[in-house]
Symmetry: D2
Subunit: 341 residues, 4 copies
Amino acid sequence: MDDQVFRVGIIGVGRMGADHAERLSRRIANARLVLVSDPDSARAEAVAGRYHGVRTASDALALIADDEVDGVVIASPGSVHEGQLLACIEHGKPTLCEKPLTMDSESALRVMRAEHAKGRSVVQVGFMRRFDPEYERMKELLGSGRFGRTLMLHNTHRNKDMPPSFRSEMIVRDSLVHEIDVARFLFGEEIEEITVLSPRPSSFAPEGVVDPQVSFFRMTGGGVVTNEVFVRNQVGYEVRCEAVGETGSVIAGRPATGLYTTSSGVAGAWGGTIPQDFRARFERAYDLELQAWVDASRAGSVVGPGAWDGYAATAVAEAGIESLASGQPVRVALVSPETLS
Amino acid sequence: MDDQVFRVGIIGVGRMGADHAERLSRRIANARLVLVSDPDSARAEAVAGRYHGVRTASDALALIADDEVDGVVIASPGSVHEGQLLACIEHGKPTLCEKPLTMDSESALRVMRAEHAKGRSVVQVGFMRRFDPEYERMKELLGSGRFGRTLMLHNTHRNKDMPPSFRSEMIVRDSLVHEIDVARFLFGEEIEEITVLSPRPSSFAPEGVVDPQVSFFRMTGGGVVTNEVFVRNQVGYEVRCEAVGETGSVIAGRPATGLYTTSSGVAGAWGGTIPQDFRARFERAYDLELQAWVDASRAGSVVGPGAWDGYAATAVAEAGIESLASGQPVRVALVSPETLS
Amino acid sequence: MDDQVFRVGIIGVGRMGADHAERLSRRIANARLVLVSDPDSARAEAVAGRYHGVRTASDALALIADDEVDGVVIASPGSVHEGQLLACIEHGKPTLCEKPLTMDSESALRVMRAEHAKGRSVVQVGFMRRFDPEYERMKELLGSGRFGRTLMLHNTHRNKDMPPSFRSEMIVRDSLVHEIDVARFLFGEEIEEITVLSPRPSSFAPEGVVDPQVSFFRMTGGGVVTNEVFVRNQVGYEVRCEAVGETGSVIAGRPATGLYTTSSGVAGAWGGTIPQDFRARFERAYDLELQAWVDASRAGSVVGPGAWDGYAATAVAEAGIESLASGQPVRVALVSPETLS
Amino acid sequence: MDDQVFRVGIIGVGRMGADHAERLSRRIANARLVLVSDPDSARAEAVAGRYHGVRTASDALALIADDEVDGVVIASPGSVHEGQLLACIEHGKPTLCEKPLTMDSESALRVMRAEHAKGRSVVQVGFMRRFDPEYERMKELLGSGRFGRTLMLHNTHRNKDMPPSFRSEMIVRDSLVHEIDVARFLFGEEIEEITVLSPRPSSFAPEGVVDPQVSFFRMTGGGVVTNEVFVRNQVGYEVRCEAVGETGSVIAGRPATGLYTTSSGVAGAWGGTIPQDFRARFERAYDLELQAWVDASRAGSVVGPGAWDGYAATAVAEAGIESLASGQPVRVALVSPETLS
């Protein structure tokens, strides 16, 4: 065996996990998918069967413990992340864990404490936007001082549609959580207060669901972030972010990218196509995220968002869900990093 | 005398008034500037002297009463508007009054009541954005039903710089007031609640001034509006507005308009120029506003925003200033239109 | 009578003439339409009847000679321009003549010689693009030296559709003529050679008509201009121009101007609307052109493109029609300006 | 050894070859760089030393013959391509050959004949634009019939600067050759005539060098292509392509992509950054090209442009160089594909 190649096991091969399997097998250098597991064993067999030399494990813990697995991708439901993460930490195996880290801040804290106790970071959380070339360049520009101190961020996050089961709280926990991470990433600060407003819902929102939602964050340094999250916009996936500094602003995700067409088909319109889901928009970010994880893992390090980022995002989302219910601003209480040791 | 030409007097020939004088004399059909007044009589003489056959009046009330004046443009400071408006109403002369209508909602109410008592509308308020082709088209598109019900509006309003005397309250009363009118115009509803947040100020803001400001409106129909007002952005004048409906969105004031250039002067940059003040951005809107006022006045009618719009905007701005101080949402209490009669 | 107001007569009130009548009556300062003429006297009556105090003249020459007419707009067919222009020159009346100046360079020369003999310029040719704010700013930028010497120009000129009677030669004479003028305007040089290529026609072109056409010019200073003219593109009116200098480039007429929308109606598309005809695109240029003509005429001068520009454009178009037939480059032979005196 | 991994040797590790080495080692799945060769053996050692387990070969032919090499990337100067390609064909090894295929159409013909004689295609030519997502999507759209038949193509190809040794002929052979391939790719037809015009050169062009160049192609189906190639524009790398069909148009490489910024640093400008070289613009296309080559090679097939495309492009470039000298249109004479067998 070539000792250069990083051997990966994937836990959970639903949509995200299967995407990661494909990515690892077709587009990532120096890595090889060797093992998959899924409670649905037929699904595990099906995904394994697509690639040369991939086995299935009886369960997640067996996968984590497997000697041929150098690193683990967790793409299982958030509700089982905690145990899987603790096992990965125990085995000291580099882990890329899809968001959310865990379901609540208490369990996220336990994961962080376990990592601290072990004395070695192994967890990267799947906030892929940090690997999107535009967000990355934005971070760099804001850090360059060219725009002065960052004062505000304006985020737009829209999906074409969601199943009826995607309720108001999930809009906070699974959608807004990306803006939570982006705000922390671009400001380099924590969020200290969150307010979630409930506009009158779109008539495409299921009964009782607040969609769209408008929210704002206060950062610890005094900056303000505004967010629109609208997961049933009937149009497509649109993610934009404008950062406003003291002497200029930067916009990522400008709508007018890609091909520009005119066509008699639409009564003299110019324009282009909006991606229909997040995978089209962030395909490259996912590739870069996974390659970065492989590269760092082979070098014995961790890059990108770690367990603390997963914990902090979870804590802000919890406060956001509270605010969604009350309509009032809610303060975010994070543990002091010192208490971890 | 040609009875077709509409003869106009201008009260106050500072920057705005002098602009209107130039516009009337050089670009507006079927109107003629005949009289100007200004407490600074040298300034009045100077402006009158630029054009053929323009006289000066001893004061605003003499101008309003002058037999050769068919209509009045009020471009004096807001603190003296009330008396001038009451005189225009008394004389039944069509009046284009620069915003603000008056300094507070009480005086605005008195103006409305006078107009009602007289039984004839004569006042148009100078919210010029309603005449900007993009805002006008946006209103039309939203009204077409093509985007479903309007759910949200996101406004950006930035100036390059302001004198130190332009304090936090003025950012609400003189800048945000345009977004207040735009929200009322595009939704076709009143604002029922306003919250003004105070991010940590830019270091270019004078001591004690909250700049930028982020604010939110709740519309009576449940829609939500977000606003950024930043009057010392060091860059230029940028006004954008995105309306989000149930099935699509519309953006006015997109940054990428006009010429597109590349130049070695800026290290391989592409782009264009940002207008340095509101006059460059809204020059055409001002022309169209004034022409529309002349045309309507000659036809014996009033178009565009009237006294009620001036009153409502003033009342929302008052609530906004209260919110700026308290940091809390403040409800807007408008009189019932029925109480006017 | 107010001696400040410039009294205008319009010859020919078809589409262009009627547009000018409307413009003069509704949007132009210091001018008044007083007289119209048209071989179709019912049409003349109809247009005159729309405005207060407008009379009809028995014919073009009577209109030109009328004492109440201070200036003349010629919007008749090109085939009768020569006689009308000679009469205007004879009467010394400022004249705005729609393009083409005349039907061939010989007759254009006669007009120029008459103007010279009279010793006073009175003719402005209706190349409205010179008054479009983007072209005007482009001229200014290129003249600033910021981009070095101008090396190339790339023009795109598209119409949605044309009647079958609009033949190959007319695409040169009536459409490409605008690019001819733009090239001369932006370079500040004459065109010395023109080549018109005939791509295989669109299936929407009538039998025997070459549409689209690709052409190029060599300027006297060595610059090269490429042009696409496509008058049945089925989409809308698109006019773009890119000037390339030694150290940068400038684009006018970028497609992505105005409102930006998304809508589920078009399967997740973003974009905007393309003007459906030249009037929507150049409405403002026409207004500015007419106002500039009125202002200059009142001041006793002529601005914008004059008889020489009309002559030179006609001569280049003649060479272009020759090239269209032969497929070969054709040199443009202009008289020496000295021979005029 | 893992038999799944495709083992690659690279001939020539100058800028392009070293880029490919980096790409293969860091971003491409299922491939491994095993061998490099370069006449400059120190350079070969340096590149080999950067990666684990990469050897150097004594020369190109040894590399091609090496048992551990499954496929070959040729990144040597064009003048030595012929012999190397013939050896690759002889050994039946999949080969990705940087353009130009060879230096003239005669030698390109010999390569094609050798491949035919062997009865198996192994050569892919490095026209990476075909793998750029925008060009690929454009091809797909034009093929969909949505825009009717393709009528015209307008290409812009600009570099910031080139060494003085980059002469007029090289602008045709090394720069314009990309537009030659793009025209053939998007039309799916051959070029039957080429005209290269020589505008007056930029003052940044070395003495005797024609830069910029404007050229035209006639396609066998009657379509027309215009090209601007300007390799010392002082600004950056700009590649754009507009395809015009009967009922609409498509633009790739629109300038306004990526981040949008405003900054007081540039006097109120909005805009973005222009890539400074082709690698930044086409980085992704190169990655996708190499991955596609690896994937196809592992599957025993060839994708993308082959030897015929390399031959045809060379033949058109030859005609272009002749036209550059004469200023006349030159017809392109391709052998009949049937003569190959």
